[in-house]
């Protein structure tokens, strides 16, 4: 037994219409444990989930707060719909903190059981503030109404060992293991700024602990900086009515309809139940959208080696329910069982690898030029157990590889690592260095923005080139989609609150292939509607996938198939059925818009959030190098003719590159103008008081921030 440093008993109460109406505050510095009231104002303006996270974070920090300040908080919350078991994808936890990479709020969402179990344990949100001197474990027992802060003792560091140990410790028996969820990170989170948080759930079919990741923005690094080794919640007795919804019959009816759609249509549509999100790897490759070798091109002839079929046929266990929360029949949390590791501290051991998700295969595979499924799975496993955000890690490593191959840094600069594209051994060794806190891994672990500075100042690299090819915006690394030929997606990455993560807007096909949004106004509408709509999932505790990774059979006959109108109505109906309110699909968007604009103003309060912070690396907009241009020469030459009326046959390659760049940068500027206008912001990206009033967010605390910028 570990030493208990502080304990706290609380009264068990009943959730009413999706809310406990209280939240939990824990300060790991002075070991305070307190309850806070969730007010009607909070519910009206911020709804829950990410909204609650940002509300609490605003009050915890000042403009001077940085990621490692004691007052920085990790806030996590489910949402009013979160935890219902009748509809797929309701188990998300939303998190926020001041990011290690961006100095502004990062938000991240994650599956696993923690969010719903925290809510069923009596808490609509959890704030963790302060900084401990020694490693701690926080334990919340939702059946006993008991919280303890304990010394971490001799618990292991890496995720797969730590989650197993704590699940074993806190479960009363094998059946009880599914009542336990652990939040933790791994050894690399102590040495890098890209540490993520793993959220566990017990897989009763495999009889092993599985993990999902809150990946972006360094949440795991902050967690370890606070000297928290793990956070455990235990709640036994999950059932379909724990939210005590206003109208459970409606939820049941909609849920049955949705499960039938998945059953009947998934195999014909995306095959989520067989391969999960990695189903799109070859589609991205075929449409020139799979980022390859640091986003230089959008595809490679070798991509077939990491095709979905390879993972399905050779690695992923089939026929097992792979939902990361009860009732999710989309079942996309795929896993490779008995995978034998060949490198690192666990070499020779057989493990279960959670994944690969699309981002893992695209980032660790194609973007590193490593078209080897075993490399993808091994790197996937080590990133997870070490607590590394795979998206940032992959994009950072791709940047390093290109810098090396272009002679910007040398093998000596990298401590002898031969980090050229396709060198799996060197890439894996770099991961191990990040975990050990050694060598070049310490530099790479600082993230792309800091690496650029180090490479220029210490190694004499070309600053302009590094700014062009370093795929970060606001300090956060790009996720794994090639945006060069989709102006709307360029905005979907750069004109975001937290940075270039695709969860705000994924418009590549709608824009580039379908050509459904040809004008600036069309694109601006899409960059208004979709970010607002998708923000709503984060207020509710919902996963995005059941919205459009499965669609009704007749969705294509609707006026707006990309919106999936039937599923939007499902969400409206479920929200009303849980909370007893009567919103419509327009109010749904306004609910999101309030929180989205709050986050924008929060960024401004932290000294960012203006137009200059929404700029894009040129690699995301167009071809930086001669090789990139020549690889798609016919396309770019045609664009010079058709878009600019220029005859490319009279131009040198340098002239063509320059003309293409000038045109594309202007297009991005015009897009930015249109998007800001559509969102109700000034030309500098500041929400106007009029717009804030229109959406019911003309709060004095927000007006005080925006007024100096008007």
């Amino acid at each position: 037994m570990r030493k208990v440093l502080r304990s706290y008993d609380y009264k068990l109460t009943r959730i009413e219409k999706g809310y406990n109406n209280r939240s939990l505050y824990i300060n790991v510095g002075d070991l305070r444990i307190e309850e806070k009231e969730v007010t009607q104002f909070m519910k009206d303006k911020f709804i829950g989930g990410k909204g609650f996270d940002l509300w609490y974070l605003w009050h915890a920090v000042t403009p001077q707060t940085r990621w490692d300040s004691p007052e920085n908080e990790i806030v996590m919350s489910s949402g009013p719909i979160g935890g219902i078991t009748q509809y797929p994808g309701t188990g998300k936890t939303l998190l926020a903190a001041i990011s290690t990479l961006t100095d502004i709020p990062i938000d991240s969402n994650v599956g696993g059981y923690f969010g719903p179990l925290l809510k069923f344990s009596g808490w609509d949100a959890l704030e963790i503030q302060g900084k401990s001197e020694n490693d701690l474990v926080i334990v919340i027992d939702g059946n006993k109404g008991h919280i303890s802060i304990e010394d971490a003792g001799d618990l292991p560091y890496d995720t797969h060992l730590l989650t197993e140990a704590l699940t074993e410790e806190y479960a009363e028996n094998e059946d009880d293991k599914r009542s336990v969820s652990v939040v933790c990170t791994g050894s690399a989170a102590e040495h890098t700024l890209v540490g993520m948080l793993n959220f566990s759930f017990y897989d009763t079919f495999r009889k092993t602990v599985r993990v999902k990741q809150a990946g972006r923005g360094g949440l795991g690094t902050i967690f370890r900086n606070k000297h928290i080794r793990a956070l455990v919640v235990k709640f036994k007795g999950v059932k379909g009515n724990l939210n005590n919804p206003a109208d459970v019959a409606t939820i049941n009816r909609i849920g049955v309809k949705m499960h039938k759609q998945i059953h009947d249509l998934d195999d014909k549509q995306n095959g989520m139940r067989k391969i999960g999100t990695a189903n799109t790897v070859m589609i991205m490759n075929q449409y020139d959208l799979l980022p390859t070798r640091n986003f230089q091109t959008g595809g490679d002839p070798e991509a077939y080696r990491i095709a979905p079929e390879v993972f399905v046929n050779e690695f992923l266990t089939q026929g097992i329910h792979d939902g990361c929360w009860y009732g999710c029949t989309i079942s996309c949390s795929k896993a490779a069982d008995n995978f034998k590791l060949r490198t690192g501290p666990y070499a020779g051991q057989c493990v279960t690898v959670d994944g690969p998700e699309y981002e893992n295969a695209a980032g660790l595979g194609a973007n590193l030029g490593c078209f080897d499924p075993r490399h993808v799975l091994e790197a996937n496993f080590y990133c997870d157990t070490y607590g590394l955000d795979i998206i940032s890690t992959a994009t950072m490593m791709a940047f390093v590889m290109e810098c090396y191959e272009r002679g910007q840094i040398t093998r000596e600069d990298m401590g002898g690592l031969d980090l050229r594209f396709g060198n799996s051994d060197a890439a894996l060794e770099l991961l191990h260095q990040m975990a050990r806190g050694e060598g070049f891994g310490l530099i790479v672990g600082q993230g792309t923005r800091k690496m650029k500075k180090i490479f220029v100042e210490r190694f004499g690299a070309d600053e302009q080139l590094l700014n062009d090819i370093g795929m970060e915006n606001k300090g956060l690394e790009y996720s794994e989609y090639m945006p060069k030929e989709s102006l709307a997606q360029q905005g979907g990455f750069a004109l975001t609150n937290k940075g270039p993560q695709h969860d705000e807007a994924w418009l590549i096909f709608m824009d580039m292939v379908n050509n459904q949004i040809p004008t600036f106004e069309d694109k601006a509408y899409a960059l208004y509607y979709y970010p607002m709509f998708r923000t709503w999932f984060g207020l509710m505790g919902l996963c995005k996938l059941p919205w459009n990774d499965i669609v009704p059979a007749d969705n294509g006959r609707t006026e707006t198939p990309a919106k999936v109108p039937e599923h939007v109505q499902n969400y409206v109906d479920i929200y009303n059925a849980v909370t007893g309110q009567k919103i419509d699909k327009e109010e749904l968007i306004i609910q999101s818009e309030r929180v989205y604009n709050f986050q924008r103003v929060f960024n401004i309060r932290m000294g960012k959030g203006l137009r200059e912070h929404d700029s894009s690396p040129y690699r995301a907009l167009g071809p930086v190098t001669r090789e990139e241009y020549l690889s798609r020469e016919e396309r770019y030459d045609n664009q010079l003719r058709e878009q600019q009326g220029i005859d490319p046959t009279t131009m040198s390659l340098e002239e063509k590159l320059a003309a293409t760049r000038a045109y594309r940068e202007k297009q991005f500027k015009l897009l930015t103008d249109a998007v800001y206008k559509r969102r109700g912001w000034t030309n500098n990206g500041v929400p106007t008081p009029e717009h804030l009033k229109e959406i019911g967010m003309d709060l004095p605390m927000l007006l005080e921030v925006v007024e100096p910028h008007l």
Partner: protein, 65 residues
């Protein structure tokens, strides 16, 4: 000349919906096709003839990230 997703595309005698999809290398399988605004079911792709001047929309219903 026809329009495919609002962009010009050369027309040929006897061209079908399937032919357009293949010429454009639209390999994604979950498509919604409309010709002059009319929905074309997938089982008609082989037979539905495209006429000169037609407006063909081939919408990829891909969920993505």
């Amino acid at each position: 000349m026809i329009k495919v997703n609002t962009r010009d595309h050369p027309w040929q005698e006897g061209m079908t919906v399937r032919g357009v999809i293949e010429e454009k290398k639209f390999t994604f399988r979950h498509l919604v096709v409309r010709v002059n605004g009319n929905f074309i079911p997938e089982d008609q792709y082989e037979h539905h003839v495209i006429n000169d001047g037609d407006n063909v929309m081939v919408i990829h219903l891909i969920a993505g990230g």
